[in-house]
Amino acid sequence: MSVLALEKVSYAYDKKSRKLLEKVTTEFEEGTFYAILGGSGAGKSTLLGLLAGLDIPTSGKILCNGTDISEQGLPRHRKRNVALVFQNYNLIDYLTPLENLRLVNHGADAGVLEKMGLEKEEINRNVMKLSGGQQQRVAIGRALVSDAPVILADEPTGNLDEETAQDIIDILKAAAHDEKKCVIVVTHSKQVANAADVVLRLRGRKLVA
């Protein structure tokens, strides 16, 4: 079942710029792990930003569960429908891992973080005192407890070593298959692409399989 869809979406930074995306139409389904590949400057992060409601398309529509996200309000879309995971983790630096989870879910408990391999002591430590891999686990944990049906990840393994990257890929894959989330990852990584259920490529301003 389609949870997120692009309908003839085009995007340019401004009227004079060349279009980065042109009439892109595709659908993303729940329980599926997508990888979007593309060269530098192809518009991967822009596409992710549009799906996340961080920016608006020049033309076309983005639908979430059949509703245009601009109609329901972009902050509401970001709060309810999507959870973002970034390459540089993006955690709030004065909070602990558990407190970072509670930014999106007041009732979140330590169980999610423990499942992802964090020790009890680490869960209550300042988040900046964790390793990169641990911080990315916290960021994914925040996405999982948000109850959003879609997880959007921008190069989530870009700053991690191969072993840690594989752990993160496994966690995202489990989120798609076990938690029935729609996981969309934009990446350069072949490791991620190999693990994905569906691989899409941004080529010639279009999204193609």
């Binding site: 972009l74 955690l91 709030i92 630096d93 999106v104 007041h106 948000s146």
Partner: protein
């Protein structure tokens, strides 16, 4: 996570930045509270002047005589709100030992009779010394119109002679003797006294009738009149002068001059305070905006994260304002402590400037000016003004960030 909790965690865990803001706010709040204290002192001084020197005029006997009937006719003039008829004389208090003069270098002859000053009055509370708080009634009550054989005396004289309210004293003058009941005791000192009878300690305020019995027909020394307001003073005097009285032998003196200088001084200082307040507020806003712009820029990462998890810009602004309010609360408490000291130094100086005296003596029977500490209400108002300045500055500092799209903010993050 609740907004307030997040705000508290931000303030408490980013202690260094919070302390910098706390110090800046404390300085601003201290300045505002000191300004409120000085303004309060000005108001207290204005009230003190009005109380001590209410608008009015005095008719004195001059070269002629001021009869009670003439004084009463002036008292009936439109615009006169209160009156006090005074008969001043001296008398010898029977069996009482007067308070001695402090050493002044002036030697009095042993032949000088131990006379006390006597003021027969219709209302002792309108006597200048009481109105200006130079004297203070500490026990009993004031003389009022209609009292008979009543007297108010100095507490020190009463103590020296073992007297208290309800006891009787007898005053003698030229073979006449009047016994009166003590109805009140007062404290205070005279500014100048060259004779024992001119000392406040040796002064008796009696009812007018008793002084009349002692003086055997002596007319009034003066009649004091209060008018509705300073604006009506000249018109009321003009109406009084239309009465068929021997004005060529009477002296009329209004007291407008005695407080005009001080009121003008207060107005000048208040004008300066208003300018200072406006300047201080603008300078505070400028400094705070400058500091808060950096404060907000330093949090672009956090802003981006919160926007990406669906926090609205309104809630972001609210969180930052709550954080600043928390710091402002602590700064307010520190400023209350700091402003006390600053206000005292500034207040006494400015009040002295307003009265045109350095030693606090204003000359025209105006009570000695002094610093009046600001009330809790004034301090609260200054704190609220400070908070308004802080919050306004925060909004101004955040506008550039709030106008950006979430994606632009996230770009700044990376």
């Amino acid at each position: 996570m609740l907004l307030v909790k997040r705000a508290w965690l931000s303030v408490s865990r980013r202690a260094g930045k919070s302390v910098v803001l706390l110090l800046i706010m404390t300085v601003i709040f201290t300045a505002l509270m000191a300004e409120a204290s000085v303004r309060g002192s000005m108001q207290a001084l204005r009230e003190s002047v009005s109380r001590g020197v209410p608008a009015g005029f005095v008719v004195r006997s001059g070269s002629g005589e001021l009869s009670l009937a003439d004084a009463q006719s002036v008292g009936g003039v439109q615009g006169v709100t209160a009156h006090n008829y005074v008969r001043g004389l001296t008398a010898i208090p029977s069996s009482l030992e007067l308070v001695e003069m402090p050493a002044s270098g002036v030697e009095l002859s042993g032949d000088v009779a131990p006379e006390a000053g006597v003021s027969g009055v219709t209302r002792s509370d309108l006597i200048q010394g009481f109105a200006a708080k130079q004297y203070d009634l500490v026990e009993g009550r004031h003389i009022t119109d209609g009292d008979h054989n009543s007297v108010i005396m100095h507490q020190e004289l009463a103590t020296k002679n073992g007297l208290k309210v309800g006891d009787q004293v007898t005053l003698d003058r030229d073979g006449k003797s009047v016994t009166m009941t003590i109805i009140g005791l007062f404290t205070g000192t005279s500014r100048k006294a060259s004779l024992p009878s001119e000392m406040a300690e040796n002064t008796f305020f009696t009812d007018l009738a008793s002084s009349g019995e002692l003086a055997a027909g002596q007319e009034l020394t003066e009649a004091q009149y209060l008018v509705t307001s300073a604006d009506d003073l000249n018109a009321t005097i003009a109406r009084a002068k239309e009465l068929p009285l021997p004005w060529d032998t009477l002296q009329v003196e209004d007291n407008a001059k005695s407080f005009a200088g001080v009121l003008s001084g207060i107005a000048t200082v208040e004008g300066l305070l208003n300018l200072m307040l406006a300047g201080m507020s603008l300078a505070s806003i400028a400094i705070l905006v400058f500091v808060l712009v950096f404060w907000v820029r330093g949090r672009v990462h956090e802003i981006g994260i919160l926007l990406s998890v669906g926090t609205t810009k309104g809630r972001l602004l609210a969180q930052f304002l709550i954080e600043l309010s928390m710091i402002a609360l602590a700064a307010g408490a520190l400023a209350v402590l700091a402003s006390g000291q600053v206000s005292h130094m500034l207040g006494d100086f400015v009040v002295g400037q307003a009265t045109g005296t350095e030693d606090g003596q204003s000359g025209a029977n105006i009570p000695p000016p002094s610093f009046a500490a600001a009330s809790a209400f004034d301090l609260g108002r200054a704190w609220l003004l400070g908070c308004a300045v802080v919050l306004m500055s925060a909004v101004v500092a955040m506008i550039p960030m709030l106008r950006l799209k979430p994606k632009q903010i996230l770009s700044k993050m990376s």
